[in-house]
Subunit: 225 residues, 2 copies
């Protein structure tokens, strides 16, 4: 954010672990993960690459850091004890998706790394609280929350993967799919042509709804219409 162009002779950059992570996150989102090198990040901050090692022990820690920074942005599940847990979970999933989509550069990392940072733990704890308060057994609460978050992460990761940074349509785009031989893949071609199941947000909503409905059913909850 603050303009990092060319410090005067013997004037410090005034970095923080936080400011370094923020710049890294911003750079990854803007130019993609591949463009996030220590030297490039240094240049972005008006500093040599090695300087960054005063704020971060190695690059992997930097990556962990930006994941955590992005995760910290996610809003916790609402602890409204009056609301149905299904509504709470649906709202949480929706908000998790929009937050993750705001950081396309980090999504490959989120989908790939084990998630046991304080930030994620906080969200998980809150989620479990909501589910337990609704009467679900602990084990099933874990299973439910796990299934929901994994689906959200995978779906958003797939969304950004098929629309890469600064790039024309990828191989998975509907346009590309529509051009394959209907004799080889009739249904896929038809879906691409008619646009069935093409809208990311709607497909996402369907998956979430199915997951929540299914969990409720397996747990013997009364169905609602």
């Amino acid at each position: 954010m603050t303009d990092r162009r060319k410090r005067g002779r013997g004037e410090r950059a005034g970095l923080t672990r936080q400011s370094v992570l923020d710049a890294a996150l911003e750079l990854a989102d803007r130019k993609g993960l591949r463009a996030l090198s220590m030297r490039a990040l240094g240049a972005e901050l008006g500093v040599e690459a090695m300087t960054l090692y005063h704020y971060v022990p190695h690059k992997d820690a930097l990556l962990d850091g930006i994941v955590e920074r992005a995760v910290d942005e996610i809003a916790l599940p609402a602890a409204d004890t009056n609301a149905d847990w299904r509504d709470a979970m649906r709202a949480y999933a929706e908000s998790l998706r929009t937050t993750l989509l705001r950081h396309p550069g980090v999504l490959p990392l989120v989908a790939t790394r084990p998630a046991a940072t304080p930030g994620t733990l906080r969200a998980v704890e809150r989620g479990l609280t909501v589910l337990r308060a609704a009467g679900l057994p602990l084990g099933r609460s874990v299973d439910t929350l796990n299934a929901l978050s994994l689906f959200v992460i995978a779906h958003t990761a797939a969304e950004v993967a098929s629309a890469p940074v600064n790039e024309a349509g990828a191989a998975g785009s509907p346009q590309a799919l529509a051009q394959l031989d209907p004799r080889d893949f009739p249904l896929v071609a038809e879906a691409a042509r008619t646009g069935a199941g093409t809208d990311d947000a709607e497909r996402f909503r369907f998956g979430i709804q199915a997951l929540i409905t299914g969990c409720a059913a397996l747990l013997g909850e009364p169905s609602r219409d």
Copy 2:
């Protein structure tokens, strides 16, 4: 497979695109993605790094290739028109999981790249066929199949991520989780202590079951017990 140690003077290596991809896949699974460099792969095959560029235009294509090679191993959904689509999908999900788990090195790639290779298209087409034959509308078939595959991929990716190659327990392991302060995260700590929701296979089965049940419910299928 074939012993690649030290060809005699002026004796060819006899590589194929397939053999190169196979070796790359095997190397990635055995030593992890980070260890898969062109030079290392060349050494594995008894050949200089640049030689590989006769079989693959660049490293990204190599990665795409090993993903496709792994994907080709997945068994297509059974087209048994007598069986319930729910059973077919559950079996497919289960088999997809075991296949993916056989290639831990490739999972980060699968979870990350857009999937529009012939192999995946074949599986998708078959899945859509099954669902359509059961009477689901095309759009919903796409949504259902999408939700299922994404969940499977995300879950298996999470499984291998929390048990990395040749490594002691990662940060997300139950042991590590059990040691955090119960005052900060009481439910997470309790779950870790009692082992609730700890079994990967069972948690997976729950998610799949929930997803399928939920999709059926949303599509107005009669419930079964």
